[in-house]
Subunit: 394 residues, 2 copies
């Protein structure tokens, strides 16, 4: 049951290494369906619909599409606007005026919420709109999906980069014994957890991994660092930017940059400096931090091939679902049972996704609170693929 | 004229992506010379000689050597000790006791200085020692050499990573318009300058590049950022960690971490936060920083093939020079004339290198003070090789 109509696709939230693969999949799949007329791209997410800043994606050449599939970041531009009810109604009028019946939004929870609002409003105004969310978030915090496109590539980037940063600290430990790697992850520890992939051999970096799922305890942290330093002569600590203390306050909230944020929002990114200060002040050990920041989420070089392929498939599935009459759903990835990794796509109603956050489960966090479990490694390894192996002298 | 004797090799200072290639070259070349008996590796640089913590490198298997050649960081470990005269005399006694006549030290200025001290002391005590420095520093600040092994790989890493981080900022500029990438470079701007490689098209990131060679002027900086933001809607700033103000004070010296450094040395790494504070406070624009830190210097994935090959050749040349009777020298790289890039190795007396720092020359800095010139790009591009090209929608 397909209604002839136009399609609009947008990208929202933080860019990733593979979100353009989802976009290209939407375009290439849409080109195959008679039911789809125009193929519009929103410039800068929902802003593009509010301001009618739309791109004609039928005009993009086949060659550019193929190159774009492997280009990191988000080619349409993204946004993080909070839409008011007036905005949503204005967008609905634009969709109706342009006879857009397929609304595909690539993003995380915020994008799913926008899709759900349009889905409900369309029902209210009796407009046949198929609003579908295509999952994308490096944070891996959407529910009802095995993992989120974008996350495996960050995990791969951090697995390799922390392995290398660990070799660096091991080499220079006599002069520079403590290093903190501050990862992304404002509310969950999925990204920080993935640094565990860095370990090629027992006892290698990261030696301590701190996740927002467990309140950060300063005395325990100092005891942990002191112990690892005593045992190994060097320490590599992985810490999520969103670490909180026992009162639920962000650790980074003590940083100057918070007060200076002109938008009044907490500025994440100070955890590395805070932890280094603690180590230097209390343990009298030299400490430095690496904060790869946005580089970790948009690397084309260390992209996971599973991730790139799945990001394409969820985009493709969204178009098929929409044309088949679906709507008000998010495309999911389901991990097939069996020893070899395989996934299939599925759908879930948006109201089961929106507003829910999947934190790292207990089964994936070591009892110590500063490491992951083998169950976690079994979960993440197939998504990331093999990492380069490095030699040691002894 | 070769004296039969043992050889010792060490690595010093910051690890790099290719310093193990130099080490493997020394071992593999040494294995070919009858004049060389034992092949010792110093554990943690000069510390290994002070504490007689030496590794028998003849016992390392051929397979491990081949893997090690492509393994980042410094497999022997490095150090940053300040040697006293007593230390140097003790090392000399160890060299004599172990009949070590070949002293090869892979590092930057500090390592060259150690080699020079041993060279002079050996002359004083009439011990036939061939002390040779093998150049290695990501900072690219040694004189009398076209470029330093280790630097081209950092330049390649930053070229790609800043290109990707720039696409990220371009995509998300409506929400997150200003990004600072803080690069290594405590006293020179070579590393920061290399971010210019990121530009694939006119007007792309980085939009502003600040080097320690020019005093940082706050009002000019704010005017520059404001202008780029007005013109493009987003700004990517590359800044060296060692930026100084007009009085020669490190910008990062205002950071808390400085006071907390237990060793009383300035802690670099605060420039990103300082610049973000300036932008947020004075321009009321949201700003964030990426500080890839040690990750930029030890990436095996983005290693420059020219760099890996040259790092091997300087190690090889050092052994040949030593066996041929040379000493008191540093191996150099000389760029051949002609359109295609080619280099040869040479030697320079250590006393022409030690204590001198090569800063980025005027001819490589744009008149604006916040960019590089085409002469610089002509210098750096052949060392780095082609970077991945990314697609754009328009």
């Amino acid at each position: 049951m397909s209604a002839r109509g136009n399609l609009v696709v947008g990208q929202s939230g933080g860019p990733t290494a593979v979100v353009n693969a989802s976009l290209v999949a939407v375009i290439q799949e849409a080109l195959r369906h008679e039911a789809i007329g125009e193929i519009y791209g929103m410039r800068f997410g929902a802003l593009g619909l509010l301001q009618e800043d739309l791109v004609d994606l039928r005009r993009v050449s086949r060659e550019i599409l193929e190159d774009l599939r492997r280009t990191p970041s988000a080619a349409l531009g993204t946004s993080r606007v909070d839409l008011g009810d007036d905005d949503v109604e204005q967008i609905m009028r634009t969709l109706q005026a342009r006879e857009i019946r397929y609304f595909l939004y690539i993003g995380g929870n915020g994008s799913a919420a926008t899709a759900l609002r349009l889905h409900r409003l369309a029902a209210d105004v009796r407009y046949d709109l198929r609003a579908i969310a295509i999952p994308k978030t490096i944070d891996n915090d959407l529910v009802e999906i095995d993992h989120c496109p974008g996350h495996p590539s960050v995990a791969r980037w951090l697995g390799v980069s922390v392995r290398e940063a660990g070799l660096d600290t091991e080499a220079i430990g006599t002069a520079d014994p403590v290093k903190v790697v501050e990862t992304m992850g404002r509310h969950t520890g999925w990204v920080a957890a993935s640094t565990a992939l860095a370990r090629q051999r027992e006892g290698e970096a990261p030696h301590l991994i701190y996740l927002p799922e467990r309140p950060f305890a300063t005395q325990q942290f100092l005891a942990d660092v002191e112990r690892v330093h005593r045992e190994r002569g060097h320490v590599l600590i992985a810490a999520a930017e969103g670490l909180v203390d026992a009162r639920g306050q962000f650790l980074a909230a003590s940083q100057r940059s918070v007060e200076a944020d002109p938008l009044g929002r907490p500025q994440f990114g100070g955890v590395g400096a805070v932890l280094c200060d603690l180590v230097m002040t209390h343990l009298k050990l030299k400490a430095r931090f690496d904060k790869p920041g946005t580089m970790q989420r948009v690397s084309s070089i260390l992209v996971s091939s599973v991730d790139a392929e799945e990001a394409y498939r969820v985009g493709q599935a969204a178009v098929r679902e929409a044309v088949a009459g679906g709507g008000g759903t998010m495309i999911t990835l389901v991990r097939d049972p069996g020893p070899a990794y395989r996934s299939t796509t599925g759908t879930v109603p948006l109201d089961r996704v929106v507003g829910n956050v999947r934190r790292v489960p207990e089964a994936f966090i070591a009892p110590s609170g500063h490491d992951v479990t083998s169950a976690y490694l079994d979960y993440i390894r197939p998504l990331v693929g093999p990492l380069p192996r490095y030699a040691k002298l002894q």
